[in-house]
């Protein structure tokens, strides 16, 4: 097993990243070493780093003998140029770096204009349930689904598929398509969108302030907010525009045996 580390800021990767996982999980995670440093944003185009910061991340990765991996979110037409500038900076600093594409349009851009960068299909490609409410879990899990999609991605030159533990299972498959398989832990996304309560709280604007196109103060970078709901047994986290839950240990055990890489998240980040 190889491990990735997803941090808020560039810097030294912890000696024991497993310590960040909830108690008991370390038994579910096989030994291995950290090989990749993840940065960027999976869920918010306004939370992407500036191109000028890419060099810091690449340098941090290089200093620790890690592969830099740029996370990119679903983007609108306003976000595409921003991602392109990031990709240009990344290709300049680390021509063989990896790029996690959660947007099919970004994947198209990477394939057509940045052929040296190595694309990975991000966890948003897996649209299965992560609903934290009791009663959401389907009675039967899946051993293997999305085979066509994995074959299609492999044919497109995608190097890996990524997911977090959903309630269904089977997205990573059995590995027959030649794709690397990555599992994000310990947080699974529940819901995301353009409305951002954190931004609305910080800036005083309406939740649909995205229409303004105004700059975001990135209040989400100050840390996730805990959410307590009466219809959810445990806490959720609001990281900017995205809600996360802690993945269930049974789902982690189910999926980790199918993974080649586990990405450990320092905290919930959009």
């Amino acid at each position: 097993m190889e491990y990735g580390w997803r941090a808020r800021e560039p810097g030294a990767v912890p000696q024991d990243p497993w310590a960040w996982c909830p108690r008991g999980w370390e038994r579910a995670l096989p030994p291995g070493r950290v090989t990749a440093l993840y940065f960027g944003s999976e869920f918010c185009q306004d939370a992407l780093p500036l191109p000028e910061r890419v060099g810091d991340w690449v340098e941090s990765a290089r200093d620790q003998d890690l592969v830099p991996v740029l996370l990119t979110p679903l983007v609108t037409s306003r976000g595409v140029p921003r991602v392109v500038r990031l990709l240009e900076a990344l290709a300049g600093a680390a021509p063989r770096a990896e790029v996690v594409c959660n947007d099919v349009g970004v994947l198209r851009v990477v394939r057509s204009r940045f052929s040296g960068l190595r694309p990975r299909a991000g966890r948003v490609w897996n649209r299965a349930l992560r609903d934290p409410r009791p009663g959401a879990r389907p009675p039967n899990g899946e051993a293997d689904r999305a085979r066509r999609l994995r074959r299609f991605l492999a044919d497109m030159g995608v190097r890996a598929i990524e997911t977090d533990p959903d309630l269904v299972g089977g997205f990573l498959g059995a590995g027959g398509e030649g794709l690397e398989r990555t599992l994000h832990l310990p947080f699974a996304f529940v819901a995301s969108g353009r409305n951002c309560l954190v931004r609305a709280d910080e800036g005083g604007g309406p939740p649909d302030d995205w229409v303004s196109g105004g700059p975001c103060g990135a209040a989400c970078c100050k840390g996730a907010r805990r959410i307590l709901r009466s219809d959810v047994p445990g806490p959720l986290w609001r990281a900017g525009n995205t809600l996360f839950r802690e993945a269930a240990e049974e789902d982690v055990r189910r999926d980790v045996v199918r993974a080649d890489r586990v990405v450990l998240h320092e905290e919930p980040l959009p």
Partner: protein, 322 residues
Amino acid sequence: MTAILAPVRHPDEVAPLLSAGAREFYCGITPPFWSLEGREWANRRDPRSAGVGGEGALRRVVEEARGSPVYVTLNAPWYPGDAVEALAAYGSHLLEEVGAAALIVSDLELLLALAEWGLAHRVHLSSVAACTNSEAVRFFRDLGVRRVILPRHLALDEIGAARVPGVELEVFLLNDGCVFEEGLCATTHRLGPFCLGDGPGTEGVGAEAVDRYEFWKWTRNNCGCRTNRGIPLGPCGLCALPRFLGWGIESLKVVGREASLPRKVGSVRLAARGMEIARSGGGPEEIREAVIGMRGAAGLCEGGRLCYYPEVWRGEPRRAAC
């Protein structure tokens, strides 16, 4: 030619909606092999309240539409692996034998299966697939998809920039907002909308911001009511019609398969009136005046509170974001 797309759940709804101005229809149907026992709904809405009653009813919907196209939703965000092949076969049956003009699909696995059946050109990509930029539209065009339904939360400039030759676009016009991005919401409406309980209980967020959030969610949820004229108080994009007509957007969606017929007819009439004004050269102000005249609730139009596209009134986006 831009058309108003209306939801139906019963054949008897078609004629009144045609009279009101609808020129395209969409509906949901639960496949006969689809067990509801422990499974998610086949098309994201409760089949008991939002779906047509079966294949016979769907055939009647097609007949009643008198040549106007009828699109059928198979738009769950994901399907069990063992169901995809059967769903593709069922989709082919609906297209080739029942008279559906296209299938509305979200799950890429099902889309790829339909492409194997040679049917991608009869797929409308659901907004649940979250196609949000022109590069993504090109991606799906290359797969053969005929139409892309753009998600609700795109701003007007983003819709304009998503236009790609060879792909039809459909945009949201009236009713039923979403709090989160549909395609990025991994919860199930089977347990009730998860988003309605979101906001309160978030530590470190001020009460005033939560109040604003609650109000905004209320407007996305049609303000929980309709006017005494029978017209819903839901999200509305009518004032953007001049823009949509100028861009040649093919389809304008009225949302609400599960709604009552009076609500559907009222919504389509409102849309048709807006289209009439826009086609005769009227601008957002004239459309708003006409809408308020038909619907009432002028106060909710102030400040763009009900708007799908509030930038019509708040001004074009600042360019500093990117």
